[in-house]
Amino acid sequence: MKDIKHLVVSAIKDGTVIDHIPAKDLFKVISILGLDRIENQVTFGSNLDSKKLGKKAIIKISGLFFRNEDINKIALVAPEAKLNIIKDYNVIEKKVVEVPDNITGIAKCVNPKCITNNEEIVTKFSVVDKKKVILKCYYCEKITDQDNMRII
């Protein structure tokens, strides 16, 4: 296990490694960060064993560094994710994902009668519980929690 991780991390010269992604949410993370639309080299490993998550995934992106507000967007699906910032094959910084106070876009409001589900509007939520990641819609004021959260 340690060897695999070591191998994955050291395989890029400069860039970002995102570790501790729940394996089932790997493709959501890819889509939220727009990794399916960039030119950089992206590699990932999935269904790796993890004590914490059961099965985890790792993504590494060459030559790309994220702003905090961008990386925090994945908090909705991968709140435990950890980032390693790589420069010249060395980890120069470690970061954790922080659940932001407000979420714009990304998630859908659970309420079918919400205006955001009936007209083209970017969703907005305030995060009322950062630990359980519970969202309150800015428009209809209804609660969307992890169990019924849908990522756009």
């Binding site: 409001c109 309420n111 009668k113 919400c114 205006i115 955001t116 009936n118 007209e119 083209e120 509007i121 305030s126 009322v128 519980d129 519970i134 309150k136 819609c137 800015y138 428009y139 209809c140 004021e141 209804k142 609660i143």
Partner: protein, 317 residues
């Protein structure tokens, strides 16, 4: 517990002028009182031509004659002009126009928009798109803040104060938006709440958590005959059959939440019965003759309260 579950100030600016009123939580306690004091002034002197030359749009994407007439009466008594529609079949929305486009068009013709819409969050969205302030006259099951302000007005007028009252809420406390908004507003005045409802229609946990976080007392009952004499205000709501998953449960409990004249026998002298109207059968007709029945006067107060809201948002008072 985080009170933000239910309490979210989304629209804070130090002035009421030009600020939309979408949710009861948009106003502070001081602002509630400012509106109530102004409404009192309008009750004494309802005809004041301060809206001369102003145009108010009333956009009712779903019909609500009661609310619309109350707003239009308020505007007319202030000398303003009205344009708009009474239901969506007479608007361009039926041709598939988006709410965004309708609001963008209307705000170039009016100084203020009063809007009712079946979708929740529509008023908040309209207030973002509009260049003029928006008053929410009901967005689905979400908010109806002018109703709550007129409830507050009625309570203060009949009790002489809003502080330290025993507020009974009866009937459908799960889906009833009026009781949720009234709870939020009265929580600013150290109220004690009595929730009387069938099990299936109990006050949602998030509101009870909120009251706890505010240090306020509340009690839950399935029946109110034994406790009715402690009430200062009884706020009745409709219990709809469709809300029950078990129709037998509905049949068994439906009569528990009907208020009858004989139940008022030993109630407090100051006690008043409120209801957002229209009622179906939850208040028996024999209650109407009681001096404790306040629901028809309550509706009349709506005009003064709406005069107060409109004139303060337009910065005329």
């Amino acid at each position: 517990m985080n009170p933000g579950y239910v309490f979210l100030h989304t629209n804070k600016s130090p002035y009421m002028k030009n600020r939309s009123l979408v949710s009861i939580n948009d106003y502070s306690k001081e602002e509630y009182l400012k509106i109530l004091n102004l409404a009192e002034e309008f009750e004494k002197n309802p005809r004041q031509e301060i809206l001369n030359g102003h145009v108010v749009a009333t956009l009712f994407f779903e019909p609500s004659t009661r609310t619309r007439l109350s707003f239009e009466s308020a505007v007319n008594r202030l000398g303003g002009r009205i344009l708009g529609f009474a239901d969506s079949s007479s608007s361009s929305a039926t041709k598939g126009e988006t709410l965004r486009d309708t609001i963008k068009m209307v705000c170039s013709y009016a100084d203020l928009i009063v809007m009712r819409h079946p979708l929740e969050g529509s008023a908040r969205f309209a207030s973002e798109v509009s260049t003029v302030p928006v008053i929410n006259a009901g967005d689905g099951a979400n908010q109806h803040p002018t109703q709550t302000l007129l409830d507050l007005y009625s309570i203060r007028k009949t009790q002489g104060t809003l502080e330290n009252l025993n507020i009974f809420m009866v009937g459908d406390l799960k889906y009833g938006r009026t009781v949720h908004s009234l709870l939020m507003a009265m929580s600013q005045f150290n109220a004690t709440f009595y929730f009387i409802s069938p099990d299936e229609l109990k006050m949602p946990d998030e509101y009870k958590r909120y009251l706890k976080s505010m240090g306020l007392k509340f009690y839950e009952f399935k029946d109110f005959t034994d406790i009715i004499n402690q009430a200062d205000i009884i706020y009745m709501t409709r219990v709809q059959k469709e809300r029950f998953s078990d129709p037998i449960e509905y049949e068994r409990t439906k009569n528990t939440y009907i208020l009858r004249h004989h139940m008022l026998k030993d109630s407090r002298a100051n006690m008043k019965i409120l209801h957002p109207l229209p009622r179906v059968n939850e208040i028996h007709l024999d209650v109407d003759s009681s001096e404790k029945a306040y629901y028809f006067t309550q509706a009349l107060n709506g005009v003064f309260v709406r005069q107060a809201i409109i004139s303060s948002i337009l910065g005329l008072k």
